[in-house]
Amino acid sequence: MLELHRTSKSYPGVDALRGVSLAVGAGEVLGLVGENGAGKSTLIRVVSGAERPDGGWIELDGEPAAFDSPAEARRRGIAVIHQELSLIPQLSVRENLFLGAGWSRRGLVRRRREEREARRLLGLLEIDIDPGASCFGLSLGARQAVEIAKALALGPRLLILDEPTAALSPREARALLRQVRELAGRGAAAIYVSHRLEEIEAVADRVAVLRDGELVHSIDRRLPAAGGGGLAPLDRDALIEAMVGRRLSAEFPPRLHEELGEPRLEIKGLSAGHRVRDVSFSIRRGEVLGLAGLVGAGRSEVARLVFGAAARDRGEVWLDGRRLDPRSPRQAIAAGICLLPEDRRGHGLVLTESARANFALPNLDRFRRFRGMVDRRREGRAFDRWRGQLDIRLARSGQRVATLSGGNQQKVVIAKWLERGAKVVLCDEPTRGIDVGARYEIHEWIRRMASKGKAVLLISSELEEVLGMSDRVLVMHEGRIRGEIADPAGADPAGVLRIAAGVGPSEEPSVA
């Protein structure tokens, strides 16, 4: 039904999809797996009309299909259930379900008919929600379920599910999987994206593995018709192996020192809601501590809690043997903690300002003359120094930071913290969306900062990076630290991924 032919898509600095050819037939469920950043989301965006591929083409029912918008893809029968929710909270469940596709007679909504239909859909999914209820008060899981019901309401020919069960209860998740199978039984096709391999095993006829934008592995589980059309069991280890791959190990800059010093940052019993639960660790002077885990495991949240950017429920933050417990980033910065945020453009930089102004923002007190006046010459000298050292490429010194490449933007963020002279550096996905050359330079800076006695926390969704750069790695799953890897350089990536995915009992050295 749907065929992708050598489809490619690249963003500045990243080739998100590289010539992927893939087909889904009627009545078939395709499981799609891969590490964070392997290209799964990009593939969904291309298929659903949210992005146009740069190369290759897509066919729907044998005809070339180039969708200009998600609306057009929807008209052709492609429904997508996104990770982000798209419900309008002010409307009722029923109104959301049939938004843009309801029953009406001469412009009037046929409420009874809609209500009946809504009950039927919700019943199929075994969701116990009143169709008249406002979506505002619903739990995240219930909203996710409504989202799914909404996609089913369209009677789609191709249903795309992107991590649909992340917020569902086990019972709701099981009902959803059954519905997907049922939909396939009626001749529709589905693409099911999930980190949870047991779900993939329960639902997928075929499994495709993406890695670095390429299709690297494909398993057809359907037994020959003679066997009664059942599904063969899934070899999870083979799948994980394919996801991680035997990549040529990327070059990482060498360590600049071997000795680690006193504990610098100590975290005790950090908790916030259900996202971070009882997290404790310490980082020594000169140590790079990696934090691995899947998206949503709570790694970024840990960094934000340590930085005082989010509110803690419980837990202590100690710096150099003194209790700090920062209540605001301002306090954390004053004490010597800094953060390279995951969302560089949204959280790291003021895009309306120049690179220099961004650099100066946390350092203005260092360039102060009197009565809050800024010494612009001193500011300029400091900026030029770091600009030279970090090789930040600018057309002019007043250039707006929004116009810089990802690598140069990240260097601006690093420069501002280097000038600050922080003791603890929290790096959240420091090289995401950054090209290879700038990546290496950023890795060098991480090494250099560690060699100066700073404590570095490195969060990365790329196992290779987190294992290659860290002295020690903690693996998080659903808000908890589930494992510690003492020798990351020699560790098996598949084992780390297994802990991160919460698959089976960990064979790695157990929780610290």
Binding site: Y11, P12, E51, D54, F307, A309, S328, P329, R330, I333, A334, L339, P341, D343, R344, R345, G346, H347, G348, L349, V350, L351, T352, E353, A357, A360, L361, P362, L364, D365, R368, R371, G372, M373, V374, R376, A402, T403, G406, K416, R432, G433
Partner: protein, 477 residues
Amino acid sequence: MPEETAQPVRGRMRRLLSGLVDLAGRRLSVVVLLLLCLISSAATWREQNPITKRAGAAVARQVLEVCPVPCEVLVVVRDTAVDRAFAAAIERGLAAAGAPIAGRVFGQPRDVRLEFERIARAGGSVDAIATHRIASEWGPVRSAGAPVVAPGSYSWPTFLTPRNLLNVVNQNADIAIIALGMTLVILTAGIDLSVGSLLALAGVIAAVTAQEWFGGAAASPAGLLAAMLLGVAAAALGGLLSGTMVAAFRVPPFVATLGLMMLARGLALILAVGHQRRLVGGGAEGTPEAVRVGAPAFAWLGNGSALGVPNPILLMLFLFVAAHLLMTRTMFGRYVYAVGGNPEAARLSGVPVTAVLLAVYCLCGAFAGLAGIVDASRFEGGRPNAGELYELQVIAAVVVGGASLAGGRGRISGTLIGAMIIAVIQNGLNIAGVASYEQKVVFGALILAAVLLDRLQPKIASRRARMTRGSTSTPVQ
């Protein structure tokens, strides 16, 4: 294929067009201001009849040429301050040459006839009449039989006379001063609707306290200053209140300042009515009239001048320089831009976002209060109805000056130009005789155009950025 040859041409055209729009967008306010001045000048191209000291001196020299000393000269002018200064200049010129003055007329044609009669009765004579162009047209002057000397007229735009220009700026000084505070608020992606009401409240408080606490007509300059400072402080306090709502309780600025707008206006009216009631005594009905201040010195700020420049203009210029320095040279200024551009990134960079927002709204209130003091001083009393709908003119000035309502972008210099644009349009329309209803239409259209440009600018900018990067996709992060 024909399309392929058409593509680069179209691309170049588009680039040229967007470049022009971009340039116009960046320097638009200056271009518009100059254009408006040009239009106003062209529309007010009139014959000018100078009534100045210099013209007076020239007349004196001319009289001496027409009729050498001793020559009895009659000076005829109207009874206005300008005319008297002109006449004085003529007399000084004549006196220097020793020419006797037969008589002077400060008034109307009738007064000229009476003066002739008086001179005739006294047995004197008139050998020449020195006057200006307007009075030279009067019947008694023309029929006098003596040579009439008046300065030559020339054509010049009325708009471009120093008097008119000073007047334009002076009348809009209060708008410009408030626009300074509004610029800070808009830079943080906020809005302040309460400025007009705070202006009135500050004026009324200054007037009432001057009358009731600091001695009324006998108030000392120090007392008047204290009264004025009280007014400004009250307005700043109002700003602090809306700032607290916005910064600490996340109330949308529109709503918070709308509430303060009504609250402050009500307070101003209550205070004014209360004062009137106390003035009349007993249970008499108070009326929301202006609270008059008896002390003459109270009018100094609004009506005085230094070196020929009215005090409100001087105050405005001083505040603009101060605000410009504040925004470009201080930590506070940097913080304001950062908070407006991206509050979360600013917070994560250690900017005290809440404190910055508080200060910004407080400053905006204080600027409105200062404008209120100027207004009260100009009218020699606090008017509880002053400043109605000022917020719209002020916001228009800021937006026309190039500040982005989305926050983070805008300059103090832009706001100065924006305020001047508003002033020049108003003045131009007044001189051209456009009724106030039509003026509203013009202002509305102007604001819409400015906001539209504000919305278009990011699109153009991103298109340009994409062209220079050579990619057509937007990065997803």
